[in-house]
């Protein structure tokens, strides 16, 4: 078995000559020697250990990405079915109210947890964290592998609920009791139980992955890589993982207690209930407790999706505007601050839930405080564009699309976070438009941008630009025309989760808009298949990318081979001398200085010390 492992080389203290600086003073390039020896990695031999039960974080990242995308496509199809019903009621004959609510629920849960969370943290996190930190792999590769397979089982359990008697749960993605476990809601038997089980499995699996991401960032960075030299992508994913580790427990507890209410007949969330003339065996519980638990998880969850997106977009903008990210330290503190504050705002989802009314003051205040660091991030993105040298390629288009949709969704967030303004708007289509804009479309823009950006690293080939632009414009214009007008449905007062609008005098005027929105949704959904076509086409006939095709500074582009191999760095780990954003330094030969370039090589430039 011993040949499966690296020999445990200790990276000894290297003098500056051996690090790479041929000229310049040794002091200038000095980096502290390694604190620990090289990582002990298990190299797979067979197909199964190399590609299926694989311990390489990069392969696990791709596995996460593919499985999350697969579930995301299911979520997409469900959204089509919903829009079909809303835009053209009666056209799909099989669609009953039960089906509609099941689709709503599964679409929401899949997209938030099994698509976005898994994709950003499991997919991008696994692939990028070790590369960007200069580690050989995640610190616990075996645990990392189990994490993916737990996620796999969780998805299996979730999808199994489509085939059980009663179908999947139709209680809305928030799963509010009592309705989620009572007759009168679709899937209140098997459906809700499988949903809870799936969530518990997801949380367990995610905890394993999350421990990996955190410890890799905290304890396994390469020499010279300080926290303040890490790319913002790593900062975003790292902070999101911290949030996940602390927020998912509340979901776990909520799911567990609800399962007990269902199976054992406990009354954690169940008060005395009269159903069809009979008093049920419940009594004394509090439905609002579940809402508190759910949103204590649910609000950090929003940032679990948003923070990696913030981080990734910062890197993409910086690389393609050929300019350092403006106000890096502010960006880091904003990420950390948003993350910390997100634990103190959860009940702004519950202003009209019947909780203690005095909470409104507290939560409105904390919520609007979050707006400040978020706004700072937006300013810094556009100030990064200012006086840059902007490559208007597909990646940059996705970034610009992100800024527009994110600012739009962020502003409507201020509407909903401010307690009084929330009262008329909550539970209407305004809410749907808001969160789709801010945590549906905006992160999707980032995912797409990231795919176009990092595909040359993962596969060694450029994705087709022309197809990419079509993909972008169809998605951006389509999605914007879905969600921008939808806010106005909310102003009219159309409540959400209505299977049919019926004939309320003011709601009927929205029929035309619903048809328009549905058609736009079909187009946007279909446009996503351009990406799949593009990937297949590129893998067959794409243009090879070579080393560091975007001329980026960060470590992931500096691996000895493209795509990087297991262990990432060949025989020698990189040594980092600067932050990841030294673009367009005055006096430098090229418009970028990689993180591994020692100071002595760029001694005559005006680079700032980081």
């Amino acid at each position: 078995m011993s040949e499966d492992f690296n020999n445990n080389k200790i990276i000894h203290a290297q003098s500056s000559e051996t690090i790479g600086g041929a000229s310049g003073s040794p002091d200038m390039d000095y980096v502290r020697p390694a604190e620990t020896g090289d990582q002990d990695l298990y190299h797979g031999h067979s197909f199964i250990t190399k590609w299926i039960f694989c311990q390489d974080a990069k392969v696990i990242g791709v596995q996460y990405f593919l499985l999350a995308t697969f579930t995301g496509i299911i979520g997409l199809i469900l959204s089509w079915l919903m829009r079909l019903q809303l835009g053209f009621p009666g056209l799909a004959g099989f669609m009953t109210a039960e089906h509609y609510y099941q689709f709503v629920t599964m679409h929401g849960m899949i997209m938030v947890v099994y698509f976005l969370t898994a994709l950003f943290l499991g997919g991008f996190g696994n692939y990028l964290i070790p590369l960007m930190c200069g580690a050989r792999d995640m610190v616990f590769p075996y645990l990392n592998m189990i994490s993916f397979w737990m996620f796999f089982i969780a998805v299996g359990v979730l999808l199994a609920s489509f085939f059980v008697p009663g179908g999947p749960t139709g209680s809305g993605w928030t799963l509010y009791p009592p309705q989620s476990i009572l007759e009168g809601t679709p899937g209140s038997g098997w459906g809700i139980l499988l949903m809870c089980l799936s969530l518990i499995l997801f949380v367990a699996g995610f905890t394993m992955g999350g421990l990996n991401y955190l410890i890799t960032v905290l304890q396994a960075r390469t020499r010279g890589m300080t926290l303040m030299r890490m790319p913002l992508t790593v900062w975003g994913i790292f902070t999101a993982t911290v949030l996940a580790m602390l927020a998912f427990p509340a979901l776990l507890v909520g799911s567990l207690m609800m399962s007990l209410d269902k199976v054992l007949g406990t009354s954690f969330f169940m008060p005395t209930i009269l159903k069809a003339g009979e008093v049920l065996e419940y009594g004394g519980g509090s439905p609002i407790l579940f809402q508190h638990l759910f949103w204590f998880f649910g609000h950090p969850e929003v940032y679990i999706v948003a923070l990696p997106a913030f981080g990734i977009i910062s890197d993409l903008i910086s690389v393609h505007a050929r300019k350092n990210i403006f106000g890096y330290r502010m960006m880091v503190w904003a990420i950390v601050g948003i993350g910390a504050l997100s634990f103190f705002v959860w009940a702004h989802h519950m202003y009209v839930s019947g909780m203690n009314p005095w909470f409104g003051f507290f939560f409105a205040t904390t919520t609007l405080i979050i707006a400040v660091p978020t706004a700072m991030k937006v300013y810094n993105w556009i100030l990064t564009l200012w006086r840059g040298n902007i490559r208007l390629n597909t990646v940059m288009l996705w970034c610009l699309g992100f800024i527009v949709t994110f600012v739009n969704g962020g502003i409507t967030g201020i509407f909903l976070g401010n307690v009084t303004v929330d009262v008329p708007l909550s539970d209407t289509y305004f809410v749907i438009a808001h969160f789709h804009m801010v945590m549906g479309i905006a992160p999707l823009m980032v995912i797409m941008g990231a795919v176009y950006h990092w595909f040359p690293l993962v596969a060694g080939k450029f994705l087709d630009e022309k197809l990419g632009k079509w993909h972008f414009w169809l998605t951006f214009l389509g999605a914007y025309s879905i969600y921008f007008p939808m806010h106005y449905l909310g102003f009219i007062g159309v409540p959400r989760r209505y299977f049919e609008m019926y004939d309320s005098p003011y709601v009927t005027s929205a029929v035309g808009m619903n048809e328009f929105i549905s058609i736009a949704a079909f187009i946007v959904g279909a446009a996503q298949f351009i990406l799949i076509f593009n990937i297949i086409k590129t893998l067959k006939t794409g243009k090879p990318a070579g080393h560091n095709p975007w001329k980026a500074c960060s470590l992931e582009w500096l691996t000895p081979s493209v795509p990087p191999e297991h262990g990432n760095w060949g025989d020698r780990l990189p040594v980092v001398h600067r932050w990841a954003y030294d673009y367009s330094v005055p006096g430098a030969k090229e418009d970028f200085i990689t993180q591994t370039t020692p100071p002595s090589e760029v001694a005559n430039t005006e680079v700032e010390k980081t």
């Binding site: 602390l246 508190h292 203690n356």
Partner: protein
């Protein structure tokens, strides 16, 4: 696991400190049991329960879990998130009082 060739250098602690803490934990547990034995009520009961609880938890964390000897970076990373829990507790106290208030008001007293 990575190779920590540093571990040989870590000094261990004298056995006395562990025995001391161990003894203290027994004494504190005995005290908190006595709170119930003597049926203290009201504020006195609550403050005694909480004091003994936090003392015990603190001793276990500080000495048995070695947090007293760890560097501040680790200690702070572990303790700051507790503010979120504290906030949650604080607000849920307000919440249960409100729920109880409305239940008593509308189901028993009448409003």
């Amino acid at each position: 696991m990575n190779e920590t060739n540093k571990k040989e250098e870590t000094t261990t602690h004298k056995i006395g400190i562990y025995l001391w803490i161990w003894g203290l934990l027994f004494v504190l547990s005995f005290f908190s049991y006595m709170v119930d034995w003597y049926q203290f009520q009201g504020l006195l009961r609550w403050s005694l329960i909480l004091i003994f609880m936090f003392l015990k938890a603190g001793l276990i964390m500080a000495f048995f879990m070695h947090l007293f000897w760890e560097r501040y970076a680790l200690v702070n990373v572990l303790l700051w998130p507790m503010t979120a829990i504290a906030c949650f507790i604080f607000l849920m106290v307000a919440e249960f009082k409100y729920t109880l208030f409305t239940r008593l008001l509308y189901f028993f007293v009448g409003g």
